[in-house]
């Protein structure tokens, strides 16, 4: 993947999407799930990409998100979210988790969620809405845009 550093103040680099750099952890819960529930935990390292698909290798990008259900078979509570900041390599961590009394036995149902991330670039002070991610939470795992 081509990497582009943000150097000049006049850069027109626009935050457009995010991509997975690596999967840090992925396992069935418990251990994170409450007693009597099971589910899945997945943690990935990500980086924001620009309008040309190049990585934005820049620290201090302030990331916020909104999650909303498009399908909530499990009848879970409204999603929990948290904000983050990129490190000097431009990376940020995205930790997904879910637990439900229906798991681990359920093989039919799923929760589908749209993740809208906003990225505030410190270089130009502009906040960009990144391309939405499609998340699918099942007893068998969590996928991000099908992966």
């Amino acid at each position: 993947m081509f990497k582009l550093q943000l150097h000049s103040e006049g850069s027109d680099q626009r935050a457009t999407a995010d991509r997975i750099v690596s999967t840090l952890a992925s396992f069935a819960g418990p251990p994170t799930c409450p007693a009597g529930q099971s589910g899945w935990y997945r943690q990935v390292q990500k980086i924001v990409t620009d309008q040309n698909g190049a990585d934005i290798v820049l620290g201090g990008q302030e990331l916020t998100e909104v999650l909303f259900y498009t399908r909530n078979d499990f009848g879970n509570a409204p999603p929990t979210t948290g904000s983050g900041t990129t490190n000097s390599n431009g990376n940020f961590t995205d930790t997904f988790f879910f637990c439900t009394p229906a798991c681990p036995n359920d093989t039919v149902h799923e929760n589908d969620v749209t993740q809208d991330i906003s990225d505030h670039l410190p270089t130009n002070g502009v906040t960009y809405a990144l391309r939405p991610n499609a998340l699918v939470y099942k007893c068998s795992g969590i996928t991000i845009n099908g992966n």
């Binding site: 994170t32 409450p34 509570a77 929990t80 979210t81 948290g82 900041t85 961590t93």
Partner: protein, 225 residues
């Protein structure tokens, strides 16, 4: 407990109060001084400076409405917190389990119940305190609404301080919170007012913040989840 060099000397006042602002602190004291700081933020900064784990039980938004001026002196954490809370009506503090816990003089019954809830098993991989708060909120919700699951996603910086992996059994919510904020270089927990009738909107019962935070989380802590 070691002495620290920040204190609050000037009477606190309501944000909307028209009382005159006290004289600016000496320039050489920056950045450890600040004027008209919300009492909540002042307590968190003192805890961070003294590396004293703090727990804050919010009964209302007084700790955010009352503002205090910070100036310089040499004093210990207990005396400084006494001075802050003397300016905020209705709050007291005590040291419990190694954590300085601020709480309303009259603790709401549901708040006391929540803190005393026993979590059968709290488990988490190595996580930021923000993630731990999400997991603990999930455990609390599972006790209050056992038929309902939880789904979440937490963004963070790879450089944030992490604690764990952790597995604790048969501890109360307060004991787990105290355990978490005593790890590493410490941190603070906040418990938001618990409504009389449980409602999904109030799902974020607790918040945790690390004293090692460099992403502005500490400064953004407020009286509302």
């Amino acid at each position: 407990m070691r002495s620290i060099v920040v204190t609050l000397l000037v009477s606190g006042f309501m944000a909307t109060n028209a009382m005159p602002i006290a004289a600016e602190p000496p320039q050489e004291l920056q950045p450890q001084t600040a004027t008209r700081t919300p009492a909540l933020q002042a307590i968190l900064r003192l805890g961070q400076t003294a590396q004293q784990p703090v727990g804050i039980i919010l009964g209302d938004d007084s700790l955010c409405r009352y503002r205090v001026n910070m100036s310089a002196t040499k004093d210990a954490f207990p005396g400084l917190v006494d001075r802050i809370l003397a300016q905020v009506s209705g709050y007291r503090w005590s040291l419990r389990d190694g954590v300085a816990i601020m709480q309303p003089n009259s603790l709401l019954p549901d708040t006391a119940k929540l803190l005393a809830l026993t979590i059968p098993r709290y488990g988490a991989p190595r996580s930021t305190l923000v993630e731990h708060a999400a997991f603990l909120n999930m455990d609390i919700r599972a006790l209050l609404r056992p038929n309902e699951g939880t789904l979440g996603d937490i963004l963070s910086s790879p450089d944030e301080a992490k604690t764990g992996p952790i597995e604790l059994r048969d501890l109360t919510v307060e004991q787990i919170l105290n355990y978490l904020v005593k790890q590493g270089k410490g941190g603070a927990w906040l418990l938001f007012p618990v409504p009389g009738t449980y409602h999904p909107v109030a799902d974020q019962f607790v918040q945790l913040v690390s004293y090692q935070d460099t992403t502005g989380r500490l400064e953004r802590v407020s009286c509302h989840p």
